[in-house]
């Protein structure tokens, strides 16, 4: 609307300054730090340049390899399950139901609260040896498991905490479903297409832009999970829930190895970048944009 570039630049100046100071500079600085042996307690000037040593160190660090493995396990389990569940519930809700507002609220609530320390603490109690889950199992005659004490099950509690927060993805799916024109289904009904077929041939293709958005957001968030492992399991037992963000924190702020911690954070960054890049690159093959001509409308103003 306004063509004065100087005034426009003034409005976006806060972002440019903030980006340079709080994002770009730290981003580059963490890569530089990752090439040194910097320690938290020392003056920065006393750090030595060690080249790629921190990165080669990871090849020998069994803890890192364990952490990388459980991180991938966590992401590969939670993201598909969460998306599938969110989509399933959204489809069930997207029907002329009476109390849809009530259900949407109930399902969305955990996404809002789930990241808090309070919920993580409740989770500890729920999965405790004589906690809610084991008491419920006992009632139906099953002997419980020491969920948080066993390497095989500790991760399960953290996975469930994230799945519990499926509501935000569901709300996005629901909005996408509402945007699908009703007459497509009417036409399909007339042609005698079954509900299942309608889902695969109409609903899912038209939902791919929303699926794409949800997929990226969930991947990015899941790779950054910190509160769950820190508070519920402490990363244990035997590092079985030692997600990479927790390791980055502990290397930096518990063992004071700023160089190694920065190198780890760069590995995490590269992993997320690769996943995002693959998603963006592949979207032309599977994401269906109905109104291509409408797309850049806003930019022309």
């Amino acid at each position: 609307m306004f063509n004065d570039k100087k005034i426009g630049a003034l409005y976006v100046a806060p972002f440019v300054i903030g980006f340079l100071l709080f994002t770009a500079f730290p981003f580059v600085a963490s890569f530089v730090l990752s090439l040194t042996d910097a320690q938290l307690q020392d003056q920065l000037g006393s750090a030595n340049f060690t080249g790629l040593q921190n990165y080669t160190e990871m090849g020998r660090d069994a803890t890192f390899q364990k952490s990388l493995g459980v991180t991938f396990f966590y992401v590969f389990i939670t993201v598909p399950l969460k998306l599938a569940f969110a989509l399933f519930i959204a489809v069930v809700l997207n029907f002329k139901l009476r109390a849809i507002g009530f259900f949407r609220t109930a399902y969305y609530l955990p996404s809002i609260l789930g990241g808090s320390v309070a919920i993580a603490i409740v989770w500890r109690f729920v999965f405790a040896g004589d906690g809610l889950i084991n008491q419920a199992l006992e009632m139906i005659g099953i002997t419980g498991v020491n969920w948080l004490g066993e390497p095989n099950t500790a991760m399960f509690s953290i996975i469930l905490l994230r799945l519990w927060q499926f509501g935000s993805a569901m709300v996005v799916f629901l909005a996408g479903l509402k945007a699908i024109p009703e007459d497509l289904y009417e036409a399909a009904d007339l042609d005698g297409a079954s509900r299942m077929r309608q889902f695969w041939m109409i609903t899912l293709p038209l939902l791919t832009p929303v699926l794409f958005f949800n997929f990226i957001m969930q991947i990015v968030q899941a790779f950054q999970e910190f509160n769950g492992p820190y508070i519920i399991t402490g990363g244990g037992p035997l590092k079985s829930s030692y997600l990479l963000p927790l390791m980055i924190y502990e290397e930096g702020f518990k063992y004071f190895n700023l160089g190694y911690s920065s190198a780890l954070s760069w590995v995490l960054f590269v992993i997320i970048a690769i996943f995002t890049a693959i998603a963006f690159w592949s979207q032309k093959h599977w994401v269906f944009y109905a109104q291509e001509s409408d797309k850049n409308r806003g930019d022309k103003k």
């Binding site: 972002f15 903030g18 309070a118």
Partner: protein, 291 residues
């Protein structure tokens, strides 16, 4: 998911009823399971310690306020009120500066021809995808140089520079969906761009502003890692750190105190969510569907 249609016509007649029955059944069962941990937490804060781990019901048999009384006193020299006030000292300024900076920057993106616009917009979106942990250590060192450790400044100050791309994007999307006649008329009447923003645009984008404020409120209430790194004096702890401390100190014995304080910690978010849930839904869907 819908039941696939059986061939038999007699069945088909009842299908909508069966269908609705199935849907409600699934929805109620899942909803109950979803909310049960919350009921259990609230109920547990009114139970005595023996009862919490001996029954799965959430309604206390002998309701008691001991959990709240003792939990409020905490195991430290401060009451829980201190931690609640500390949380507000962080969250309220954070929300205010986030809203102001995000609106100003979004206005620049949505209404101005700015040099390098596409590049800047790409950078804005990149901040949404960038993992925060890669910035953690240099930011810590930077704030240490500033002498900001053990103050609230590292938590608040960056937000004055629209660092959360998600919020800026949300407002840009909202501004783009608005007709511009009003703004054009205001310019005709002699308003400058800042007057257009404050007098014409701001009132219209109020729903988006509320969404941003609510999300930032919730995220800041939940934020744990940043206070953990930057705050070292207990007297400055927000609720998140105080709760973590309480499980380290008293978990072996005082479960009802911990549950009671968890309930209080979640209360502001719970109340706001129920009062304003439509803004959450609109906020989170604006980027995904219109974009």
């Amino acid at each position: 998911m819908s039941v696939s249609a059986p061939a038999d016509a007699g069945w088909r007649k009842h299908l909508p009823v069966i269908n609705a029955f199935l849907r409600y059944g699934i929805l109620i069962a899942i909803g109950f399971m979803m909310l049960y941990p919350l009921f259990w937490m609230i109920g547990g804060s009114f139970k005595n310690n023996q009862e919490i781990f001996s029954s799965i019901g959430f309604i206390p048999k002998e309701p008691t306020l001991n959990g709240f009384k003792k939990g409020w006193e905490t195991s430290t020299e401060y009451t829980f009120a201190t931690y609640l006030i500390n949380t507000m000292k962080i969250v309220v300024p954070k929300v205010i500066v986030t809203v102001i900076s995000s609106v100003i920057v979004a206005y620049g993106f949505a209404r101005f021809a700015i040099p390098g616009r596409n590049l800047l917009f790409a950078l804005l979106m990149a901040t949404v995808l960038l993992p925060k942990s890669v910035l953690l250590i240099p930011q810590y060192l930077m704030f240490r140089e500033f002498g900001w450790l053990d103050t609230y400044l590292p938590l608040i100050a960056p937000q004055a520079f629209a660092v959360e791309g998600f919020f800026v994007f949300m407002i840009i999307q909202f501004m783009r969906s608005l007709p511009m006649e009003m703004e054009e008329a205001a310019v005709m009447d002699g308003c400058n761009s800042f007057q257009v923003l404050t007098l014409v645009v701001a009132p219209v984008i109020l729903p988006a502003i509320i969404s941003v404020a609510l999300f930032q409120f919730m995220w800041s209430m939940n934020d744990f890692l940043q206070p953990l790194i930057y705050l070292s004096s207990v007297e400055k702890y927000p609720v998140a750190l105080a709760l973590k401390m309480s499980i380290d100190v008293t978990e072996a014995t005082s479960w009802n105190e911990i549950l009671a304080m968890s309930t209080i910690a979640l209360a502001p978010s719970l109340i706001l969510f129920f009062l304003a849930q439509k803004y959450f839904v609109e906020g989170i869907t604006s980027g995904a569907v219109k974009g």
